[in-house]
């Protein structure tokens, strides 16, 4: 025995419901298939509803006078024959669904498929999409997800300097990982386009990285180097003749800086995120220009060298740079940079720190100027020393002390107390 349903049949083309006017059967009646079981009234027709099965009426669900929709239950009829399969089928379905749902949530295949709306909103609000959780299919970030992020104000920003400032081996030159997006520039007739390659590209990357990562601050002192100049001028010809290379002013400055760094090691250091590394060796990078290129070879252990030794290093490194013979070893290990901007006639400049060092000193042009000494004018050889410093590592006080010390050393360089050897 099986229980079957008899539903309200479609009784006309626009008929969607019918009113049972009279039941023609009662519970317990035996009916044959196609026997009328009820009279139904619609606004189009009055009709008899035939039984769809042969069996015994079990329950009349709808009452007389009740209006029910087409397809809705009228009554149950007990039929002879196989059991109804409906129930077992229904039980199986929900289980499959729940399994599917779990699979979907673990799937992240759509995480990086962005819709136009999501991309636009991420750009407008400067949101880093890799940090946004996706609730869509396959982990897709939906427009609603972005709207939620904007609404809550918890916007993951694109990677900032903190991330890329991770310590690198001192002096190692790796291409900057992040570069600011470059806007397409229009060219006009007559403009020359020079592709950025090789050294130019590396210089650009290093400068961008330095300026993006390092909070620069600047400081300049003025030193009276009249005695130094007269001493150097006094010995330079003899020196050149004897040694075969020039005794430059720059060598005196490098020597003074090396001495200053020995006394103020704070400036001879590197920012390493959660710590500052103070270097024991004093290796001074010097900038050497060659055509369109700029090299920064290193005078190693400058504090252990005489002025002559430094002058020789400068000479040799410059020669190597100009003939393209600098080795990787010549460029490695710099802990502080001294830049001879004075050689171009510059009297003031703000250097970009040679990443990952803590500071750079620009030695400007020596200029003869009227200076007041003891309330009298005097013609003196003056020079500006311009320091750029990493403000994360250094503050004004220590840098001021350092510069004052270098100034003192330079002003007391004369033929009485200095020997180039």
């Amino acid at each position: 025995m099986a229980s079957e349903k008899i539903n309200m049949p479609q009784l006309g083309e626009s008929v969607t419901e019918g009113t049972i006017s009279t039941w023609l059967v009662s519970v317990g009646d035996k009916v044959n298939k196609y026997d009328p079981i009820a009279e139904v009234l619609t606004d189009k027709v009055n009709a008899e509803v035939p039984s769809s099965f042969t069996g015994v009426i079990k329950e009349l669900v709808a009452d007389e006078g009740e209006t029910i929709a087409v397809g809705d239950l009228m009554c149950y009829i007990e039929t002879e024959g196989g059991a109804s399969e409906d129930t077992s089928e229904r039980d199986a379905e929900p289980k499959e669904e729940s399994i599917n749902e779990k699979e979907v949530s673990a799937d992240q295949s759509m995480k990086k498929r962005y819709s136009p709306a999501v991309l636009r909103m991420a750009q407008e609000n400067d949101i880093d999409l890799s940090e946004v959780n996706g609730t869509g299919r396959g982990g897709r970030i939906t427009r609603k997800d972005i709207e939620k992020v904007i609404k809550t104000g918890e916007m993951p920003k694109p990677a900032s300097s903190e991330e890329t400032a991770a310590p690198k081996a001192a002096g190692s030159v790796s291409s900057a990982s992040k570069q600011a997006p470059v806007k397409q520039q229009e060219t006009q007739a007559g403009d020359i386009e020079i592709p950025v390659t090789g050294v130019r590209k590396i210089i650009a990357e290093n400068m961008v990285r330095s300026k993006q990562e390092i909070p620069h601050a600047w400081m300049t002192v003025e030193a009276d180097v009249t005695d130094l100049v007269s001493y150097r001028n006094q010995v330079k010809n003899e020196f050149k003749q004897k040694e075969g290379f020039s005794l430059t002013f720059f060598a005196f400055f490098v020597k003074a800086v090396a001495q200053g760094l020995k006394e103020f090691p704070q400036l001879n250091s590197t920012w390493a995120g959660d710590k500052i590394i103070q270097r024991k060796d004093i290796n001074l990078s010097i900038a050497v220009a060659k055509d369109q290129e700029l090299y920064v070879p290193v005078i190693k252990h400058a504090d252990e060298k005489s002025i002559k030794g430094i002058a020789r290093d400068i000479y040799e490194l410059a020669m190597k740079a100009r003939s393209g013979k600098l080795t990787a070893d010549d460029m490695r290990g710099g802990t502080f940079t001294v830049n001879n901007t004075g050689s171009f006639g510059s009297i003031h400049s703000m250097g970009v720190i040679n990443h990952p060092q803590a500071a750079i000193l620009q030695v400007e042009s020596i200029v003869k100027r009227p200076v007041i000494i003891n309330d009298m004018f005097a013609a003196r050889d003056m020079v500006n020393l311009s320091l750029s410093l990493d403000h994360r590592i250094l503050d004004g006080l220590v840098c001021g002390q350092f510069l004052a010390r270098v100034k003192e050393l330079l002003e007391n360089t004369n033929q009485d107390n200095t020997n180039v050897y």
């Binding site: 969607t16 819709s115 136009p116 636009r120």
Partner: protein, 327 residues
């Protein structure tokens, strides 16, 4: 406010317009004494007489042609096609004459005719009693096509169609006739032709549809609301020319758009709706525009299982809506 069925709203609008303007008259097969096969003109013959409620021969071309002629002469005819499927012999009259009358006569003539026709399936009507024919007429400038979804809209839009100075095709879903009931004000109100209507406000997905499918979408939306899926439903109401502004606004609202029609999918009205969205809303879209429609099969089958397969129904709509919401 009285509650009436979709078809009662049709009858009410006709009666009120015939009272208001004596130039309004009804013509069609069995519309007179019988009151129409669906009873849409029930009682009008007794009330207004044989000169304003005309039983015509079984010739749709003549029903449209006579109507157009009368309209050009200054009357306001409301012609009934017994089934939209039967409109085919009248297509030449409607497209070649009615649609172009004002344009080709440089405004000297017009054809303010309303042609009513029951369309749509799901009533075991099979091939000749179930079709959606609106897309045939939906690229004929000069015609307007209105397909209302509620008794309220039926009354307001049918009145607007009758008063419109150009031909209007007014398609009524025959399954909606007695399925849909709703409150209809007794006063004389007119709804604007060419304006879509938001039937439900929501923020997760946008459904754009018309006719009986609006009802399916509303049913599904109520169910999905329990799952936290909030559907925005736009009823086109006028499917030609389309209310582009409302379509763009609705699409931008959620960026996930489901378009529904009972018509065969390829070449249906919703393809044009999709094009409007694609042209205007690229940077607001969060999912591919989805279409739920009848299969590309020549006609609605008679066998109940086959008809069920063909027809859009609340279950199919619910599934499509959930699928889009989860995307």
């Amino acid at each position: 406010m009285p509650v009436m069925s979709y078809i009662q709203a049709v009858t009410t609008a006709l009666r009120e317009e015939m009272h208001r303007d004596e130039k309004v008259f009804v013509l069609g097969e069995d519309v007179g004494k019988k009151g129409g096969v669906f009873r849409a003109t029930d009682g009008l013959y007794d009330e207004f007489g044989e000169h304003r409620v005309l039983d015509t021969p079984l010739a749709e071309s003549a029903i449209a042609g006579v109507g157009i002629g009368a309209a050009m002469y200054g009357m306001r005819p409301v012609a009934e096609m017994q089934f939209a499927d039967f409109i085919m012999p009248a297509v030449n009259q409607i497209i070649s004459e009615a649609a172009k009358m004002r344009y080709r006569s440089n405004n000297d003539w017009d054809a303010p005719i309303t042609i009513r026709a029951p369309y749509g399936g799901g009533v075991h009507g099979a091939l000749y009693h179930s079709q959606s024919v609106e897309s045939i007429f939906a690229n004929q400038p000069g015609l307007k096509i209105v397909i209302p979804s509620t008794p309220y809209d039926v009354k307001g839009l049918l009145k607007a169609a009758i008063r419109d100075n150009d031909p209007v095709l007014f398609f009524e879903h025959k399954r909606a006739y007695r399925l849909l009931k709703g409150e209809v004000p007794e006063d004389d109100y007119v709804l604007p032709i060419g304006k879509a209507d938001v039937k439900r406000e929501g923020s997760d997905i946008t459904i754009i549809t018309y006719g009986l499918c609006v009802h399916f979408a509303l049913q599904a939306a109520e169910k999905l609301a329990e799952e936290g899926i909030d559907a925005h439903i736009l009823d086109l109401r006028t499917i030609y020319p389309l209310d582009q502004e409302a379509i763009i606004e609705a699409a931008k609202k959620t960026g996930k758009v489901l378009l529904i029609t009972e018509d065969n999918k390829e070449g249906s009205i919703i393809g044009e709706v999709a094009a409007i969205i694609a042209e205007n809303c690229l940077f607001d879209l969060d999912a591919p525009i989805q279409r739920l429609a009848g299969p590309d099969i020549p006609a609605m089958p008679y066998a109940p299982t086959m008809e069920k397969y063909f027809m859009v129904n609340p279950d199919k709509v619910e599934k499509a809506m959930r699928d889009l919401a989860e995307f």
